[in-house]
Symmetry: C2
Subunit: 644 residues, 2 copies
């Protein structure tokens, strides 16, 4: 049988033997190599580009691959069938896996900014009072012939006296180490304590004096991107932060394709493996390495994910989520043993999952709402999370209404031919000179980093700047000509942000009319959902005192640009507040504090879920919003003024 070799940009190689006739994408699935395939391999997205090194796979013609690209060795993995031994390079943009893991530089204020601000806000709001774990050093009386109490009771007695607790229990992890550790350390110990079933549990014990004795993990599991943070549970310090593409990406870009795949034989296990073993385990290992923290010092894991991601993480049968009457297995889930879900973690680590609210509003949103101060205020706020789905929450300290809309993965770089996650090489901000049409780019990474693609914030800027410069019209079609505006055989226009020679992957970074169409639909979905949610309560945009904008879409959002393209209502910029990845920020708070966890559960119970697909007016609203900025110009007076 032919052998297919996948080489990652980083140099790592994975080989697999496959029958001739299999597509490279199928071979990649078999080998566990994750290649972005948002369309699920149907040939409609053009994202699964790989570069041929050796071999001659048979590729069907596809509109997403030009003759020049083909000549340069590019192939679409989904429509290239193996004919013999083949080797391909999987570029960074196509790999949601391994090379996609990026641990953040914590000295970078941009990395910490929004994240730390949220933690400070939550502390000020008083929800961080009760720590989830306590670290306590204690000295015991050594046993004598007159005092032969067993070691566990000896420790329990000392802790009960010190803490004033009625019942102390020991985990098996702690019990296993107890006798040796006591005798090696002169009967002194550091105890990792937590409340557990009405008692104080000694989750683990250490010799005195080790650094970071108790750590924890906050994880935001997005449909496209997984982000995580490693914390010192004693002082709340952020020890490492990292993100990676969700390994499930090869089973489709959206939650529905994932659910469908999960119902196939072995599918639920495949999807669990893709997100756990191929994503989380590697991400966690990278963070622990970065911070110098052994894996078994993680005692608590807090997960925020959408309802489908939560189900697939636990290996649950998710089909009823997508079938009328849209009933998931759970909203709220008991505290679990982390090792039951993520192999390699300590048996004494616990896992909490932020509660879901509906089939399409999950724990990422309850955690995100916690991170906003929406629930604290008497005034009305609108919370918008820009992810693969867009989720919105309208409310205040008294009530909360929420809904989801299928924005698609455009804000995370999906559905956009040169789109990518907000990692090295991503263009995160763009200016375009009206006269020359020349762009100025901000690229994530070290100084001198060449651009590789566009992340969410870069796409918003590009669309706004193209529109402002008259290069595209209100329907997202190219209206001017110039050096940077090219057209293909069929007349479809594209704008070149970076020429191949200046780009990291040696090909032009462009945005084309299909991308623009996808993006306009995404922003239209968000705007129309916001509009409808406000209508449900009978309020207008002017009644909203604050807009919380969340999402890991790059270096923040230029609100001026977002209003220009009609993504957000035309209101003063100071009402908009970008809080970054609010799911991760909320999960981090839940990780550190039992009171934050209790608050999140309470928020989950208070949120009322509106199913937009049951709202007959949604489609009309959506269609009207699929223009720049909107079909109803009166909704965007400042934009009209600026452009006229």
């Amino acid at each position: 049988m032919p052998i297919v070799t996948f080489r990652h940009t980083g140099g790592e190689e994975i080989r697999t033997e496959v029958p001739a006739g299999l597509t490279l994408l199928e071979a990649a699935k078999q080998a566990g190599v994750a290649i972005d395939a948002p369309c699920g391999g149907s040939g409609t997205c053009g994202k699964c580009r790989v570069r041929l090194l050796t071999g001659d796979p048979e590729m069907e013609a596809n509109p997403h691959l030009s003759r020049e690209d083909h000549a340069a060795g590019w192939r679409l993995a989904c429509c290239s069938r193996v004919t013999g031994d083949t080797a391909v390079e999987v570029p960074e943009t196509a790999s949601a896996y391994r090379t996609g893991i990026r641990t953040a530089d914590l000295s970078d204020p941009k990395v910490r900014g929004a994240f730390e601000a949220v933690q400070q806000d939550l502390k000020a709001a008083g929800v961080m009072e009760e720590p989830a774990l306590q670290v306590r050093e204690i000295a015991l009386d050594p046993p004598t012939l007159e005092d032969t109490m067993p070691d566990n009771e000896r420790l329990e007695r000392a802790l009960a006296a010190e803490l004033g607790a009625e019942r102390i229990t020991l985990s098996l992890t702690a019990l296993k180490k107890l006798s040796a550790l006591l005798r090696e350390n002169d009967f002194r110990l550091v105890c990792i304590l937590r409340k557990h079933g009405g008692a104080v549990q000694v989750a683990d014990i250490h010799a005195p004096g080790i650094p970071h004795p108790a750590c924890g993990l906050a994880i935001d599991i997005g449909t496209t991107t997984v982000s995580a943070a490693l914390a010192d549970m004693e002082d709340g310090a952020l020890l490492a932060r990292a993100s990676a593409g969700n390994g499930q990406i090869r089973f489709g870009a959206d939650v529905i394709s994932r659910i469908i795949e999960s119902t196939r034989p072995g599918g639920s296990q495949r999807l669990k493996k893709a997100v756990v073993e191929e994503t989380l385990v590697l991400l966690i290992a990278a963070m622990c390495r970065d911070a110098g923290v052994p894996l078994d010092r993680i005692y608590r894991v807090s997960v925020a994910g959408n309802t489908t991601m939560n189900h697939l993480l636990l290996g649950l049968y998710a089909d009823p989520i997508r079938m009328e009457p849209f009933v998931p297995s759970f909203f709220r889930c008991e505290t679990l043993r982390a090792a039951e879900v993520i192999p390699g973690l300590s048996p004494s680590a616990e896992l909490v999952i932020a509660p879901n609210v509906g089939s399409y509003v999950g724990g990422d949103i309850t955690a995100g709402v916690l991170a906003s101060s929406l629930w604290e205020s008497d005034e009305l706020s609108l919370f918008i999370d820009l992810g693969t789905n867009g989720e919105l929450v309208l409310g205040n300290g008294e009530y909360m209404l929420c809904c989801a809309c299928s924005a698609g993965p455009a804000f995370e770089g999906g559905d956009i031919s040169c789109g990518m996650r907000a990692t090295d090489g991503a263009i995160e901000a763009v200016k375009i000179d009206k006269a020359t049409m020349e762009p100025t780019l901000d690229v994530i990474g070290e100084p001198g980093q060449k651009p590789r693609g566009l992340c969410g914030s870069g796409i918003i800027d590009t669309v706004a700047e193209l529109f402002r410069a008259g290069i595209i019209d209100a329907r997202g079609k190219f209206a001017r000509n110039g050096d940077r505006v090219l057209r293909d055989e069929d007349g479809m226009g594209r704008y070149v942000l970076a020429w191949a020679a200046d780009a990291a992957d040696g090909r032009d970074v462009t945005i084309n009319e299909v991308d623009l169409d996808n993006f306009i639909r995404a922003k239209g979905a968000i705007f129309s959902a916001a509009h409808l949610l406000m209508e449900q309560v009978g309020v207008s945009p002017e009644d909203i005192s604050r807009f919380w904008i969340a999402g890991g879409i790059g270096g923040g959002i230029d609100f001026h640009n977002a209003i220009t393209i009609g993504m957000f209502p035309d209101l003063p910029h100071e009402l908009f507040h970008y809080i970054g990845n609010s799911s991760l920020s909320g999960a981090y708070a839940v990780l550190l504090s039992s009171s934050a966890w209790a608050k999140t559960e309470e928020l989950g119970r208070c949120m009322m879920y509106v199913e937009l697909s049951n709202e007959p007016r949604y489609m009309d609203e959506f269609v009207s919003a699929c223009f720049l900025p909107h079909t109803d110009h009166s909704l965007f007076p400042t934009v009209e003024k600026e452009l006229s």
Copy 2:
């Protein structure tokens, strides 16, 4: 490197490659083949006999192997060094492993007798009231667009209404199956329920109508023998019963050698593996196969073992148990997840361990005392467990005093050249004709089963009958001559119970003066410990209203014989009550019932531990008891009368 092949009597072969010069016993340890080596391989016990098939290992001369045996192919594994490829047969008597597993025939009234009597007594005593698990079938209202509650809350709502319980929780095992199972079974389910942390937990769910929906395991982990029973948790029915040698036997016969081995590098893991993977896992698999019960239908495991066995089972550091001031890691241990201790069990199975009372009185005794009715009565009882250690409990409903004595493994066939566990081929009862000196034997197994060795009850009978017939004297030395009394080169006598031609393994089944010496020390240890314990409270044997005799020593005990040899006080036989393996019976009660579990914990707290090694008079008492029946004849008036 030479290859050593071990062939079990059953035909199974295990091969291992070893450096030349290694002993066969070391090779067996490396290959995971358990060979009885009570002396730990020092050449002093003669139990590690194997029969050479091919090859020529170099064997040092050893008093435990005669020239005839050597010529017949027998070798001692501990003093035979590998010189090249070698194959040996590991006979039943030498193998504490695999072939040693015996599932019991439940239709045999002898198998059920004492066991069922205990369960009935406990039921009558009212400690079986609260079942540990409940099995409940329930029907849910299917969801509609108006009632979109998630599946877990739907189940919780229905159960709360049915049980009147305040809080219902679901295990992850149940949650994983929930959505699919509901939809496949018309929203009807069988729930396995238990109390867990103040709530009722749904441990698992099944489709309606399966047999034995909830099972459990009771396990008695002895130093020499491991016994287990599989129960239907719904009705308490015994589904299977089995026993095997403890795989740790190759690290030494007594708990001290095991503890010492456990402190060597990797030792604690080796000992855990020997009892868990090489003994329990196989034993459980055999019972599940026997009863046709899948492994994942076991939801509760109840363990009774001595303090050392309990520590080694959990992989704890056990050294402080044997070092002054003799402090173990624990007496009472939290309820654990069974899968953390025994791989392959369901994540929703729990494991409870009967509490230890002292370093040398463990959970096997608290469970055993539960099984006796000692704690129920106002009258004084003495409970004696005949195992590798002898443990004694003196008391009544008001107080209990307990102690342990190193009886050695003689009652389980250890330390006796032809000793064996009470399994197929074991001589369990013996009569010897005074005139002809010819024996009549009862052998365990199918009719026609040839004798292979002697189990505990057979040894007691043999010693008593030899003594009664005047074949041996009060010191256990041979005093008569005859066909069946042989002497070796050094003049050491032996009595032939079965000639090679009539024996299962093709060699004489004998008892020699070393065996007699070992046995007399064992019975002396028991008698003197009983004596001393009574002295502590200031009572004499006549004050005791009942003697509970426990131990898996064969087909019960002939009390007349046991008194004749001075093992028990000279009292009317009707005061003695044999309750079989009381540890297993007690563990079975704890398995089935939370109230039995609570009672056992209470018994553990009430028992006062006396350390005999701290009693200066114990050694004198012991030496006086090392005669048949005793140096002080006045203690055994009926024996004197019978013999004179």
